[in-house]
Amino acid sequence: MKIQFQLAIALLFITSFSSAEMSKINDQELSEVTGQSGVYLTGEISINEEGGTLDDGYFGDCADANLVCGARLGFQTQENGGWFVLDNIKGSISFEGLTFQTREITSGFGGDGALFNQTVLEIGMPENIRMNDFQFTLATACSDRPTENCAGPGPGPGGVVDSKFKQVDFMTVEMSGEMTLEGNLLVFPTP
């Protein structure tokens, strides 16, 4: 997986000429630190646009139509069971204006804000988000890797099935172009 991540963050490095010993900040001191201006992110995430690093007869270069060139994520909900799979993940997502900051809410929200009266973590959705040939396949499979056999042979539809790797692809979703995604996700602890 190739990931390009360009962060438009001004990183401030402070070099110190003093040699004072470092000391812990206690809770009281921490509680007096006020909110900062937050972080503004612009970036592009590219996943297997040309293919991954594997070339094993199942995965390979995107130029070869017989091979799967996208990334594969699998997870299991039963010990020694089969796998839920997000297969052939490829393409890129670019965004501008994803923000992270704290926000003190004391009003608004149809009267809820004044009663809430707390500070929350605010994740601002990007002003622009664009998919470029992004796609993935939803599937289930008998084993995590296509190069491994199933637990069979065993009972299956129409009799006994062999132990050859099997995957049931449900659908492939393909997305491209500018997407509308607006709003802020507010995150806070609940009692």
């Binding site: 637990a151 607006e182 507010l186």
Partner: protein, 362 residues
């Protein structure tokens, strides 16, 4: 900022903070029983002024399609998603996209770890993901009425343009917490093209949750157990075959005052979602209800023993508990202009499910 970070750290980062240096004790894994003692605060989530929309539109260089489906002849069927949207109520089939809130600050969507002992799952730690909870009648709003006022129902989410009292001055809460949602599909099967659209207005999901835990009993071999409760209320759910440019066409099924309370799995009959390790197919199971003293039930009643009485009390509670039952109520059903009145399915108890998906190529 610091107070918030202090509060969120225990949930986000508690196991990332390693004690340094002074203790050499070996780390041991936490058992389900240990975890079930944890009574941590949850994480509240509210989407403020939220809008989502994307759709297939070749003229504007947008693609959104679903492939990998075939018809009965094995030919490929492509599904173009003309629009998928979530926006403020009054969107007119997703054409007027304004921001809506999802969840309220005092009753947010929530991710939480529950002590299983308190919900009938002794010794288990349960992950719960929930929407806003239902509230007392005095505080809530009617779940269907787009003009609902406080005290009219049990839903916490408010309709768009709710009027609230700001110290004696009436103010309008435009966003509300009830979104319009829609999925507009265009199916291409060879030279044939047809449309299938689902649009729901002012939708409410209050009281919904999913609970997940690990079932480590020998018979279930470490399966992920789940309990789903999906509540869905909308004043109008419309399923149509209209083209995208004419969503209000007459070729539609309109369900007014649609209420669905779907219970899949419960404490005694969890739902198991998994994958078969031989065929690779999806499996969905809900085991039949049983009790350790079921043999002491004869002809549907206790055999008179203490064990039989215990079993009978258990089954009576099981069959009377409304939380285990599903309901679907349609206030008014209209098919292409023909009104069929109201329809109801109430008190449906899902007793047993064993579904296995398989690839037709097998």
């Amino acid at each position: 900022m610091s107070k918030l970070i202090k509060n969120l750290f225990p949930q986000f980062l508690c196991f990332m903070i390693a004690p340094v240096g002074f203790v050499n004790a070996e780390l041991t894994s936490l058992s389900d029983n240990d975890l079930s003692e944890v009574d941590g605060a949850g994480i509240g989530l509210v989407m403020d002024d939220f809008v989502f929309s994307h759709g297939n539109d070749t003229a504007n260089d947008k693609t959104f399609k679903i492939s990998g489906l075939t018809n009965s002849n094995g030919d490929a069927v492509t599904v173009n998603v003309n629009q998928l949207y979530i926006a403020r109520s009054g969107s007119n089939y997703g054409t007027n996209l304004e921001g809506v809130n999802l969840g309220r600050l005092d009753n947010p969507y929530e991710i939480d770890i529950l002590d299983g002992d308190s919900i009938g799952l002794t010794g288990e730690a349960v992950l719960q993901i929930s929407t806003s909870k239902k509230v007392d009648l005095a505080d809530g709003y009617d779940c269907l009425d787009v003009s609902a006022v406080q005290g009219s129902g049990e839903c916490s989410s408010r309709p768009a343009n709710t009027v609230w009292d700001n110290a004696g001055t009436p103010e309008v809460w435009q966003n509300g917490e009830r979104p319009d949602m829609g999925l507009e599909l265009e199916l291409q099967d060879g030279i044939n093209t047809s449309n299938l659209n689902f649009n729901a207005s002012s939708a409410v999901f209050d009281g919904s949750y999913v609970r997940l835990w690990g079932d480590e009993t020998e018979v279930n071999n470490g399966k992920m157990a789940a309990e789903f409760r999906l509540n869905f209320y909308t004043p109008e759910l419309e399923i149509s075959t209209c083209s995208q440019s004419n969503q209000a066409c007459g070729s539609s099924i309109k369900m007014q005052d649609f209420e669905m309370e779907l219970a899949l799995g419960n404490t005694f009959q969890p739902m198991y979602l998994g994958v078969d390790n031989i065929t690779g197919g999806l499996t969905m199971e809900i085991s039949a209800i049983t009790h350790e003293y079921i043999d002491n039930i004869v002809g549907g009643v206790s055999d008179g023993s203490a064990a039989g009485n215990t079993a009978q009390a258990f089954f009576e509670d099981y069959y009377q508990n409304e939380d285990y039952r599903s309901n679907i109520v349609i206030g008014d059903l209209d098919i292409s202009g023909t009104n069929l009145g109201s329809s109801k399915i109430e008190g449906m108890l899902i007793q047993y499910v064993d579904v296995k998906f398989r690839d037709l190529a097998l």
